[in-house]
């Protein structure tokens, strides 16, 4: 996605945003700037890997409100660089340095 050159070979720098009430699971902090370590042997960071990392490292409570099986809980919208992840292979999408990934819950309030 991003065009910036890779700064480090073993981590990917991302900007993550949580909204629509999802931020409550992350200490009520909406924006997170993070460095995600790549799995040993892999050169690319995929959404599937990011979700697991977020759940294990950033999420503070109630993982079932964030994930269901291997993906996000249905009703959570995901945008990669302001583009609906349904247009970019969802779990298979590859993330690059300085990409922005936004998670928005549609399940709260009305």
């Amino acid at each position: 996605m991003g065009t910036d050159s890779v700064e480090s070979n073993d981590t990917v720098h991302l900007n993550l945003e949580f909204g629509g009430g999802l931020e409550i699971l992350f200490g009520s902090i909406k924006c997170h700037s993070v460095d995600i370590p790549l799995n040993s042997g892999s050169e690319k960071l995929k959404m599937e890997h990011l979700l697991v990392w977020v759940r294990d490292n950033l999420l503070q409570e109630r993982p079932e409100f964030f994930m269901k099986e291997k993906s996000v809980r249905p009703g959570v919208l995901v945008l990669i660089n302001d583009c609906d992840w349904e247009l970019c292979e969802r779990l298979n999408a590859t993330l690059e340095n300085n990409d922005t990934v936004v998670f928005i819950s549609t399940l709260h309030g009305g």
Binding site: C83, D84, L87, T106, G109
Partner: protein, 354 residues
């Protein structure tokens, strides 16, 4: 990237529309989203020129987007409406006071006048006080019944001809399923109506009836609309939450499922053998009711007499199904005014399908 908009074929696609599976750019999405709502409004003749329209505004995503889009369409297509924001202050500290701040900002942002009506002023009780009296088990029944009536009363104060709410396609599909699951035939037959209460002074309309929740949230996100998204501190949300999750799972597999459920709901024809509730007027406050007293009066009477369980009827042996009140929380239909032999479909008209 190489993913271009299916409509303009020029700009980069930003989302996949659940309704059509088209991939569209932001600008084409805005126009399609707004104009489909316009079509719904026109085809169903929701408004007449010169009407005063109250938007039930909670500060949440749906009503925020509704207020924004209705204001925009009113200008773009010359509906000739006077639009107002109407918010209910249930008196839930740490929840409603924050969301009311959002609505107050919307008032300035959209240039639409706001009226806030509180439970305290209408009923003499805040939800915090009610919860301290009755505990956290049936509080949603009180809140739902009171809110429905409070919206009507607030709209009357505004001199409104119509009350519009932000119920979306996902909400509607969910309500159809819940009414089906509960065998609540009376509600099942009318919960798909885009306009209800046309015979009364204040019809209620749902311009987002066919609008997907995903698109409402995407629209709010791309347009950077200011909305509030915290769950009510008292809401258990169990039964509806279950239906909601089921709908979302269906949508993930096949997004059209939501529209198809609505289509099925609209096509149901209720057998003439089913006895439907007769609508009358509450002897106490004059509000529409199928009982001697409306549900709000029964609940309020219980609260004021220190018998807050009065309107709840906790008889477990009752064969009657529990009902989905306006916000979808579970509340028993039966109240102590029900006379023997008049059991079927004894649904207070005051707590329909909002």
């Amino acid at each position: 990237m190489g993913r271009f908009c299916d409509i303009c074929l020029q700009k980069r696609a930003a989302l996949r529309r659940p309704k059509t599976l088209q991939q569209v750019c932001k600008d084409c999405f805005y126009l399609a989203f707004e104009e489909e709502i316009h079509q719904t409004i026109v085809e169903n003749q929701i408004f007449k020129p010169g009407e005063r329209v109250a938007v039930g505004a909670s500060g949440g995503k749906d009503s925020t987007v509704l207020a924004y889009v209705l204001t925009l369409l009113n200008k773009r297509h010359g509906y000739g409406l006077d639009v107002f924001l109407l918010s209910i202050d249930e008196g839930i500290s740490g929840y409603r006071d924050d969301s009311l701040e959002t609505v107050k900002r919307n008032e300035k942002q959209y240039g639409v006048p706001l009226l806030v009506v509180s439970y305290k002023s209408l009923y003499g009780w805040t939800m915090d006080e009610i919860v301290s009296e009755i505990g956290r088990k049936n509080n949603c029944t009180f809140c739902g019944v009171f809110r429905r009536q409070a919206l009507d009363r607030g709209a009357v104060m505004l001199g409104a001809n119509k009350l519009v709410t932000g119920h979306n396609a996902d909400d509607m599909a969910e309500t159809i399923l819940l009414n089906l699951l509960r065998g609540d035939i009376a509600r099942l037959s009318r919960c798909t109506s885009i306009i209800t209460g046309e015979e009364g002074a204040l019809p209620r309309c749902k311009p987002f009836k066919y609008t997907y929740e995903k698109e409402i949230v995407m629209y709010a996100y791309f347009k950077k609309l200011d909305y509030f998204s915290t769950e009510c501190i008292y809401s258990p949300n169990a039964y509806r939450g279950f239906a909601r999750e089921f709908i979302k799972d269906l949508e993930a597999l096949r997004p059209r499922a939501i529209l198809d459920i609505i289509k099925s709901g609209e096509s149901f024809r209720i057998s003439l053998d089913v006895k439907m509730p007769e609508q009358g007027v509450c002897e106490r406050c004059g509000y529409i009711s199928s009982q001697k007293w409306c549900k709000a009066c029964v609940l309020l009477d219980g609260l004021n007499r220190g018998l807050p369980r009065l309107g709840l009827n906790r008889t477990r042996t009752s064969k009657k199904s529990s009902s989905v009140n306006e916000d979808g929380y579970c509340g028993e239909n039966k109240d102590h005014h029900v006379r023997p032999g008049k059991l079927r479909g004894n649904v207070p008209r005051s707590s329909l399908d909002f």
